[in-house]
């Protein structure tokens, strides 16, 4: 399987996919987010091939989503979210909300989230950064931006 590289496209969605679009990457991000930070933990939790896990972790470190750091005098490392990676979790939260709504069935969501600020179980909503009103697919229109011609 050859796979087309999305990173060169003049599209932030394609570029983001170039970072976390590969199979397993979002689930690795999720695991690191909830506190599974070591190779063996990730491998055991996900059931992912060790080879692929190695490749994904390298890629996520290279792109700046994760940081690899030693936690012992022995050659032992753990992976932690960078600021860039922490903000990428926003995407996971939206995926969670969508999956909870459309794919959970009668059993209901497998995981709930409590918002520390209000103490309630809730989910994420999208608003406009400018006016604060809801912002969804039908509420916006695209127009060319400054980086429109970029190809690298």
């Amino acid at each position: 399987m050859q796979r087309t590289n999305f990173g060169g496209m003049a599209c932030s969605i394609a570029r983001t996919l170039d970072v976390i679009g590969e199979p397993w990457s979002p689930l690795i991000l999720r695991d690191v987010w909830v506190g599974l930070s070591r190779f063996e933990q990730l491998q055991a939790d996900l059931g992912i091939s060790r080879k692929v896990l190695t490749e994904r972790l390298h890629h996520l470190v290279e792109t700046g989503v994760l940081e690899r750091r030693p936690y012992d005098n022995r050659p032992r490392y753990e992976y932690v979210l960078t600021e860039m990676g922490t903000e990428l979790v926003d995407m996971l939260m939206v995926m969670t909300a969508w999956g909870d709504k459309w794919l959970a069935g009668t059993a209901g969501p497998p995981v709930l989230y409590r918002h520390h600020a209000c103490g309630e179980i809730s989910h994420v909503e999208l608003i406009c950064s400018h006016c604060g009103k809801p912002m969804h697919a039908r509420d916006i229109g695209p127009l060319p931006g400054p980086g429109a011609a970029a190809t690298a």
Copy 2:
């Protein structure tokens, strides 16, 4: 390449990936969202293999994200977003905001979005559905939900 199926995991992120996690699927969703709705248009715009495009469109129709409908007496079809698919665009909006912030470089974002409600160019922000305050990775904690044991 065998690929592990994520749909059976008790995780809404994994289940969502089962729907749009395959390579190209988010870009197909983006194109349909911005008005490219026909097979030839999608193929030409993305440069995707016709075989893979066929597979992805079938999968997106089967899972309920897209609807395939005739637009002519001849055997011609277009793909349109269902309500489920329209809500999935929320994920693309977050990916766009993240890519604009972290990957656009000095050239700036390739595409800007105007919010119809306020007329301003803006991006999406995440808030709590309950209290309306910002909600991000560090602001929430997971706990088991009703569907926690589901395996199908």
